[in-house]
Subunit: 148 residues, 2 copies
């Protein structure tokens, strides 16, 4: 199950490229990246995180409308997980028409900040990404990739 990312003594050709900078620490995680990915896995989580990060305390309905393609079930589910993971805080003003809002914990905030470069990358390279996806849409359904 757990495997570190280092080479198992295979000096076949060159220097064994041991992983550096991505230190394995706790059992169950191969590296920090791995740990992070487990927490933000889910179609909407990073988006939710990012949105809440920008808006401060955000009401459920706002989120719902902001992330337009998300369903209630999904939004709730991901919010619950984010809450369970200690990334967001749910505040329920026990009011008569339900009123709830979500905000980031410090942990969540730090993660949101780590997300910034990814966002920047996407923004910067959106043209390439977009184009690649457009092409892929052609052969993805039913076809095969062009025999390179």
């Amino acid at each position: 199950m757990s495997s570190d990312l280092s080479e198992p003594s295979v000096p076949s050709t060159q220097t064994p490229p041991a992983v550096q900078g991505c230190t394995p620490t706790l059992p169950g995680f191969t590296c920090g990246l791995d740990a992070t990915l487990r927490v933000i896995a889910g179609k909407w989580k990073p988006l939710i995180l990012y949105f809440v990060a920008q808006g401060g305390p955000t009401r459920y309905g706002e989120l719902r409308r902001a992330v337009r393609d998300v369903s209630d079930k999904m939004l709730i589910q991901q919010l619950k997980e984010l809450e369970a993971d200690g990334l967001v805080k749910r505040t329920d003003y026990k009011e008569v028409p339900p009123r709830v809002d979500y905000s980031l914990t410090p942990l969540g905030h730090s993660l949101a900040e780590a997300l910034v470069p990814l966002c920047a990358w996407g923004t910067e390279h959106m043209a390439e990404v977009s184009q690649v996806f457009a092409e892929r849409a052609t052969w993805t359904r039913g076809g095969r990739p062009p025999a390179a």
Copy 2:
């Protein structure tokens, strides 16, 4: 480095329009983060990216052994997608015992760099993450989350 994650402290009566600071640009993407996520979605892609980034040109077998839990099918599949997305380059030395290696394109490299903060976050907060996951494992199988 530090982002514009500032809280605009919008009065609750106002209507915060849509996502700001994460500029929507091309159709099909809500923001840069969205674009990025489409490209690195997949259980192994970030790990592959990161590993190749560190090892330079990497042979298939090395990757296979490095990311120990990955199956041939998955590894190939994700590599193909990464290649199709212009993030990795596949080099096939048409040799008699097959020899192929994978390296990052400039685009892939830049993405790998954007991944670094995530890796760092995971490393830094691995204790919290680990603990949360341990607790979750209790009720995840068959139980329900503690009725908070």
